[in-house]
Amino acid sequence: MASDDLESYILLVLSDANLPTGSFVASAGLESHVAHALFYSEGPRDAMKATLAFVRDSVGTYARSALPFARDAQRVVMDFIAQQETEPSKAIDVLMRLDALYESTALNHVVRRASRSQGVALLTLYAKGFTCPPFLAAPMDGEEDTMGMESRERDERVGALIDALKLRVRREDTYGHLPVCWGVLAGALGLSLDRGSHLHLFLHARGVLSAAIRMNALGPYAAQQLLLHGVRPIVDEEAARAAHLTSGIDLSPSGNALEDDERLPASTWPLGEILAARHDLLHSRIFNS
């Protein structure tokens, strides 16, 4: 795990709105909601309340349905790093099983499409944007310290793991879904499990707010007000509630199905599912999802 200072610094880097993750083309179903006249509930039209309600339902269902995959994927990478494994194939196998399970759980073609493109973007981001450039990685004046050597060796192994996963995605052996790839990235950067999930939900919520601004549903100042005061308690609460969940890849099929189901992913917003899946039917649209 990264030291607190390093972790805070990584959080600054990861929360940069200019990070090329492809999230700017995703609205998480918001555009479809507005087009179907479901953004405002009955009564006076209040853009802030309507946006916050959407964020709440969207973060709630994403936390319960996708976050377990991000957490389990991050655990795989953390174990891979901790156990000093050099051969990534075992970790890749587990990640691919997680990816396949997510594919069969995300029963919505629009969501799956957005998830794959954003997931792959994260792997690329790590490979191209987060690895250390060689001239900064080389030991100074030929002096070699053990700390530097250890961290270089760790970075090389993690880089090999991510390259191997990227290759499998490119060959279409696996999907490269967003929650799985997020977990991989968070693990590779040494974030703690809770930090990783919290940040993932925060970015999901912020993505919705950015989409609301682009759609002209909400002004930029109002969005900041929501981000600072409204989104925080939602993200805190939903990240905490999802902490005991599991994707289910390690569950035995002979276990008690009803008991196991209490800890497994589930969608909590059926209306959101339908509207997200109707995105491609919108006559005019500015987002891909």
């Binding site: 006249a37 309600a53 073609h109 589930a266 059926p270 209306l271 899946a277 109707r278």
Partner: protein, 308 residues
């Protein structure tokens, strides 16, 4: 046929089991096994449709209460077609009406009503699970896990739907919990895991105003999920694909009465359809129309017994 009544330790909990095996012999359909125990009841009416069997899943008193648990296993053997129906919606009560009122009203958390369904479908066989919706009454809690194991060449039309409650007396999304999971495996590999969890308790996120389940579900009062897979539903799938592709949404002025979506499952092998309607009748009418292609698979008479 076995018939047993089992009471749990608190005298109110019961667990019912059922088993159905259906076989096709030429144009005849036979049930080498059709057994059940309280509070589950299975009835197979005599029907005249080649290769098709019909079983009604019923509960005594027309409902289930907190603590009840039912598990049903179904084996559809090669080339057999089974239509599973219910008679009226499955009502889920927090407690059995008129009984132990003093005890049950004192506890705030209802014991969940549990239902488990395990289905195996062999080659050229088909299961058409077309029950009425589940209606959870105020404070009721319902949890079901349904697993469908198909071989390649088997078919299924699996409907899972629920309503907002007893609207006639003003209940709208005021049950404690509805949790439903459907898993479909083909040749042992999972092609779909559909899990829906609706928690009635408003999530308290301070300082935000409470957001109830009704806020999240409205303006719709009935939701359905339909999973379609295999050669026997090809015609239905083809028609739905065409209908869905033809939709073009301009800015809508007011929420539509019925909203539906369709997504492929595992490549193009299956479909998942989701429907929301302002009333149960809206959704029922939509489903009856969308699945009408099944008339050529199970027969016009049998199909007319679904969605009545």
């Amino acid at each position: 046929m076995t018939f047993a009544t089992r009471y749990g330790s608190n005298g109110d909990k019961v667990s019912g089991r059922g088993q159905i095996i259906v076989q096709a012999h030429g144009s005849e359909v036979a049930f080498p096994e059709l057994s059940y125990s309280y509070p589950l009841k299975l009835l197979s009416p005599r029907i005249v449709q080649d290769g098709v069997g019909v079983v009604y899943m019923l509960t005594y008193g027309g409902g289930l209460v907190g603590g009840d648990s039912i598990s049903l296993s179904v084996d559809v053997q090669s080339s057999a077609r089974l239509v599973l129906l219910s008679q009226g919606s499955t009502k889920v009560f927090k407690s059995r009406p008129g009984r132990r009122a003093a005890v049950t009203t004192s506890s705030t958390d209802a014991a969940p009503t549990k239902q488990q369904l395990d289905v195996h479908i062999a080659d050229a066989g088909g299961l058409f699970l077309l029950p009425d919706p589940v209606t959870c009454f105020r404070a009721a809690s319902y949890h079901q896990v349904q697993r469908f194991h198909l071989v390649r060449g088997a078919s299924a039309a699996l409907l899972d739907w629920y309503t907002s409650g007893r609207r006639a007396i003003g209940e709208e999304w005021v049950f404690a919990r509805y949790h439903s999971t459907n898993e479909v495996f083909v040749d042992g590999s999972r092609v779909a895991r559909d899990a829906m969890l609706l928690d009635g308790a408003p999530l308290n996120v301070r300082p935000l105003p409470a957001r109830s389940l009704a806020d999240r579900m409205g303006p719709y009062a009935c939701y359905a999920t339909l999973i379609l897979y295999g050669p026997l539903v090809e015609e239905v799938v083809r028609a739905l694909d065409v209908r869905f592709q033809a939709i073009s949404v301009f800015q809508v002025r007011a929420p539509l009465d019925v909203l539906w979506s369709l997504s492929p499952v595992r490549g193009q092998a299956g479909r998942i359809v989701r429907v929301a309607g302002k009333t149960t009748e809206n959704v029922k009418g939509w489903l009856k129309d969308a699945l009408r292609g099944l008339e050529s698979v199970v027969g016009v008479d049998v199909y007319s017994k679904a969605f009545v």
